[in-house]
């Protein structure tokens, strides 16, 4: 029996900032002090507060250490683990209180407003130890389903819970299962979409890394509900930690007989295999994903027939996203009424967002549906740093749209986001401040979709490229007002005519920025000006003669010799020679250089 548990984040964020070395040092130091029988070191999944990683939490005190460096380890072991004195300088500052205790994490602004259902075990259990998952009621839901319920009852519960697909489209999960259950076939399949591809989204990755068993258990439950005995997890090879932990979890579940034949002695058989994707964005689309699992080139197929009728290997198949799976066991254990009581009327439960961009607390947050963007940005996220102001939030990645400051009080759920021209998407949320050019953002996402279009259908293959060309024309100062109209028209054409969701949603970043920031587009074409000063072709650097002291620092740092002027006299920039690298602006100590 250990008296103390030290949890170190083993998620991707903290691993990349050296948490493995911290664990190693910790074990060495603990051994050196002869504490190895008293203190247990556990590598967990993501805690969510990635901006402050690497994170270490020591229980029973609940001390939350942030930005721990390997060299801090001896002090933590000596002071805290041996002598019981919490190392205050390393605590997440918001949790520091005067006596020898710490404030509960639930009282901090980052965690206080969160409600963790899908992420409940991330940062709590060791994902590579099935016993720890079982200790937090793991596999209880599967046991309950197999021994007490009929498949129809399981589907009824899922329907009643109001759970909707967390992958983006928000299709009711129970309904999807009921379609697959109703179709007769000699074999059916259950698939997990772990091909998280939106730039900036990493919630599925964190669940796989922090709580892999929940996905296995939920898939087995679905297998029972629809009559399938085989499951596949399609996970991208770029998630090495997730792949490794999933495989460990599958092996452990096999060893315990929680996967395989005759589970719980009920005669129910279910097995799961991993399939590694090579990282194509289109393979996150359900039919392309199934084509890829079949061993073919990942291209979408026309629907109908829908996968519930003819999916993987032409058999009835259900596909759900990782975060959706993470909710299933809790719905079974706590009942559909419990789940429905969280969130809004038409969007039950919580949603995980990967908060990134111009925000203080970069990381993962899970909030009840119906939370406003303002609460997420200003309270949980800690606001926009460096004195800048919030301009917009991009949700749903390349398929989504932006939410401008004027819509910050909209309650976030599937329907409200669609109504304002954005979409839930998988939950990437990129915060942008006043230094962001919205035309440039639309261009960024179009560059992504041009790269990732699979090429099967013409509207998407050619259309995305033409959209990007028009955006390039506008940002380089050669656009006209007619180009904006053409851009908009082409967007609607793509939405209506593309084969799959990739092409149908690719214009969303353009359409939503046009809706809320049309004035920026117009400024680019009529005034040949980029209001945010991002588009290089439209931005000129200049020196304010009133502020310039003639120190010559800028002239010496200009890589192309575009700045001239004599000592103690105001300098000038030759805009013909200037390559707009911004080096002068960075160097100037008097704030005399500006761009417009």
């Amino acid at each position: 029996m250990y008296r103390s548990n030290v949890l170190v984040c083993g998620g991707t964020g903290c691993t990349s900032s050296n948490s493995e070395l911290i664990i190693q040092r910790l074990k060495e130091e603990i051994k050196a002090h002869g504490l190895e029988k008293e203190v247990n070191v556990i590598r967990t999944g993501c805690f969510g507060l990635c901006a402050l990683g690497p994170i270490m939490v020591v229980y029973p005190e609940g001390a939350f250490y942030s930005m721990v460096k390997p060299d801090d380890v001896p002090e933590i072991v000596e002071e805290h683990l041996l002598k019981g004195r919490i190392v205050k300088r390393l605590l997440y500052q918001e949790t520091v209180v005067d006596d020898n205790s710490v404030k509960s994490l639930n009282d901090t602004t980052f965690y206080g407003k969160q409600r963790r259902i899908a992420l409940r075990n991330c940062g709590v259990i060791n994902p590579e130890n099935i016993d720890e998952y079982i200790a937090v009621d793991g596999y209880q839901a599967l046991g309950k389903v197999l021994t007490e319920m009929t498949p129809q009852q399981v589907i009824d519960i899922m329907k009643a819970s109001g759970l909707r697909g967390r992958g983006g489209a928000g299709f009711p999960t129970g309904l999807k299962w009921s379609f697959a259950a109703a179709n007769q076939a000699d074999q059916k399949y259950v698939c997990c979409n772990a091909d998280e591809g939106d730039p900036g989204a990493f919630m599925d990755r964190s669940i796989l890394e922090g709580d892999p068993h929940v996905v296995l258990e939920s898939m087995a439950i679905a297998g029972y509900a629809i009559g399938a005995s085989q499951g596949y997890i399609y996970v991208r090879a770029e998630y090495p930690i997730a792949v490794k932990r999933l495989q460990i979890a599958i092996d452990q579940a096999h060893e315990y007989g929680l996967l395989g034949n005759d589970i719980f002695g009920t005669g129910f058989n279910f097995d799961i295999q991993l399939r590694l994707g090579a990282g194509a964005f289109v393979c996150g689309e359900e039919t392309a994903l199934m084509t890829s699992i079949e061993g073919k080139r990942g291209e979408p197929r026309p629907r109908p027939p829908f996968p519930a009728l003819k999916g993987l290997f032409q058999k009835p198949t259900i596909l759900n996203n990782v975060e959706t799976w993470a909710n299933v066991t809790q719905i079974i254990l706590n009942g559909p009424e419990w789940f429905k009581s969280i969130g809004t009327e038409r969007s039950a439960g919580t949603k995980v967002f990967a908060l990134g961009g111009k925000i203080k607390h970069t990381g993962l947050v899970e909030v009840p549906m119906g939370t406003t963007l303002r609460e997420i940005v200003e309270e949980i996220g800690g606001g926009v740093p460096n004195g800048h102001t919030f301009k917009a939030a991009q949700t749903g990645g390349p398929s989504g749209g932006c939410i401008p400051a004027s819509e910050m009080d909209v309650k976030i759920d599937y329907d409200n986001l669609l109504a304002i021209g954005a979409m839930m998407g998988s939950g990437g949320m990129i915060i942008m401040d006043d230094t962001t050019c919205m035309v440039d953002i639309a261009k960024f996402f179009l560059e992504f979709t041009v790269d990732e279009s699979c090429g099967k259908c013409t509207p998407c293959r050619v259309g995305t490229r033409r959209l990007l060309e028009i955006l390039n024309k506008i940002t380089s100062g050669n656009g006209t007002l007619e180009d904006i109209d053409r851009l908009e028209k082409l967007c609607y054409y793509l939405k209506e005519n593309s084969l799959c969701a990739l092409g149908q949603t690719a214009p969303n970043p353009v359409l939503s920025t046009l809706k809320y920031f049309r004035d920026e587009y117009i400024a680019h074409v009529t005034e040949k000006r980029c209001p945010a000063g991002v588009c290089k072709a439209l931005t000129n650097y200049y020196i304010d003669p009133a502020k310039c002291r003639g120190c010559t620092l800028c002239a010496r740092n200009c890589p192309v010799g575009a700045i001239t002027g004599s000592v103690k006299q105001p300098h000038v920039i030759d805009t013909q020679k200037c390559i707009k690298c911004g080096a002068c602006m960075e160097k100037c100590k008097f704030g005399a250089i500006d761009k417009r």
Binding site: M1, E61, G84, R85, S104, D137
Partner: protein, 122 residues
């Protein structure tokens, strides 16, 4: 895994260890003084005895933790049992005494007067 009972058995066994990690709302805190003076006087076996005993009896509402020096080094190892506003200070503790404190005080609610600072201060 052939039955739910098997699953329950694994769960109960694993729970004690993971339970330590929840933000516990425990109403009773047992604090063992673990500064240099406490450790030198033998606080570590005391702390471990408390942890073992509390786990063995499956007591849910009790958090065993360590604290620094409270300034009465001659009485170390010192253990404080905090129940709301009420604080009991045990001094010159040993592993054997710890087992008795768990049994008499934490389980049955009667303070082991002879181990308290009041009884030892004369």
């Amino acid at each position: 895994m052939k039955s739910l009972a098997e699953l329950q058995a694994i769960r109960d066994k694993a729970r004690a260890q993971v339970g330590l990690r929840a933000e516990s709302g425990a109403s009773v805190r047992v604090q063992v003084g673990m500064a240099t003076c406490g450790i030198a006087a033998g606080a570590r076996p005391v702390l471990n005895a408390f942890v073992e005993e509390v786990a063995k009896r499956g007591l849910q509402d009790i958090m065993v933790t360590q604290t620094g020096c409270i300034g009465i080094c001659q009485y170390e190892p010192v253990v404080e049992v905090i129940e709301g506003d009420k604080k009991t200070t045990y001094v010159k503790m040993t592993a054997e005494k710890a087992v008795r404190v768990v049994n008499d005080h934490l389980v049955n609610g009667s303070v082991v007067t002879e181990y308290t600072i009041g009884a030892n201060a004369q």
